[in-house]
């Protein structure tokens, strides 16, 4: 059964980063997002995604190491959000 949080995250990623030629369901759960040749996301994209995640889920991502770990894949983002107390997951 698919995890609704994963689909919500993929939809957010596509909308935030304006990945016009990517459908949310095309993003694999465990594929690296940043630096991947398929998605071509760079550090500005990562920052934009962090801001969108903070707004959407009411969390705070404190530093770049935390963000690198959290943004490794859709799965790690979901795990990160679930681990944050008070997040709107």
């Amino acid at each position: 059964m698919s995890d609704p949080l994963l689909l919500r995250l993929k939809t957010l990623i596509v909308a935030t980063l304006k990945l016009d030629d990517v459908r949310p369901e095309d993003i694999p759960d465990d594929e690296p997002l940043i630096g991947s040749p398929r998605f071509g996301l760079d550090s500005i994209d990562a920052l934009e995604l962090v801001l969108a995640l903070e707004k959407e889920f009411g969390i705070k991502i404190g530093n770049s190491e935390e963000s690198r770990n959290a943004l490794a894949s859709v799965q790690t983002i979901a795990a990160y959000i679930r681990s944050r107390p008070g997040s709107k997951a």
Binding site: S43, I44, A46, L47, N63, S67, R68
Partner: protein
Amino acid sequence: MTAPPAKPRNPGPGWGYGFLLWADRWWPRWLFQLVMSAGTWIALGRMPRQRRASREYLSVVLDRNPRVIEVYRHFSAFMDFLMVKLRTGSGAPIHCDLEPTHADEFNALVGSGKPALFGTFHFGSSDLLGYLLSDRDQRVSILRLQVENSEDTRLLGERFGDKVSYLWVNDPREMLFALKGAIEAGRSVALKCDRVDHSARTEAFNFLNARRLFPFTIYHLAILFQRPVVYCIAIPTSDPGRIQVYSSSVFHPDSNQPREQILEAAREHFQSVLTLLESLVRNHPYLWFNYIPLNPVAKAD
């Protein structure tokens, strides 16, 4: 876990800055100038990479091969500015004369106390501008590479420390988060926008006879955090206590416009800034304080 990158060092001994300040205060002017001149020649001889970069830059801006004395003047201008920074950090008064073009816009922004993104370049007296904003009700974070023996930065930080703080970024991966933290804390940010090595995004602009790559990150930050962008460039005057400041128009990212349209307006804004910079560089070629290869020429589309 990766080790943090080693801090770079400025050339010369650790006691060099203290010695310069002491000699500047106590020695007769002719002796101080003689020693400064000898030190500059020694630097020229012992810094082949910087010398090569200076020759390359001067050959572009002068449109001919530079003479050795011109490379010396390029190095010497940097030494002169280093002394201005050391004196300012030690408490010497410094006054900004703002050029009238865009002055009203600039004064309105700075006087409002609202946070903004201030861009500048390694040119002339521009390195002092971040500190001088603190006199204008701005709480400023200055993006800096931490260098081990940098007495000028330490002294300036002490003098202006109530309103100015540093964002030490030696690891490029930390840069955007450091900027995010400062901007979200409601501070203005001052950063230099001419060296491409640490930049998250670069774009090509007309500068010194070619389409050259320049950092463009400041405009992406402006869009993400809805902050205005303004550039300032300063040059020294014959009065060591005064600098002449050229400000750009203020760029306001319009959140009602599509992203690509805002970016296009940002490109136009930055090109106008670089056109101003180029005219100043051509009039004052020795004040370009980048002793690294000139911004790379962009590959043709």
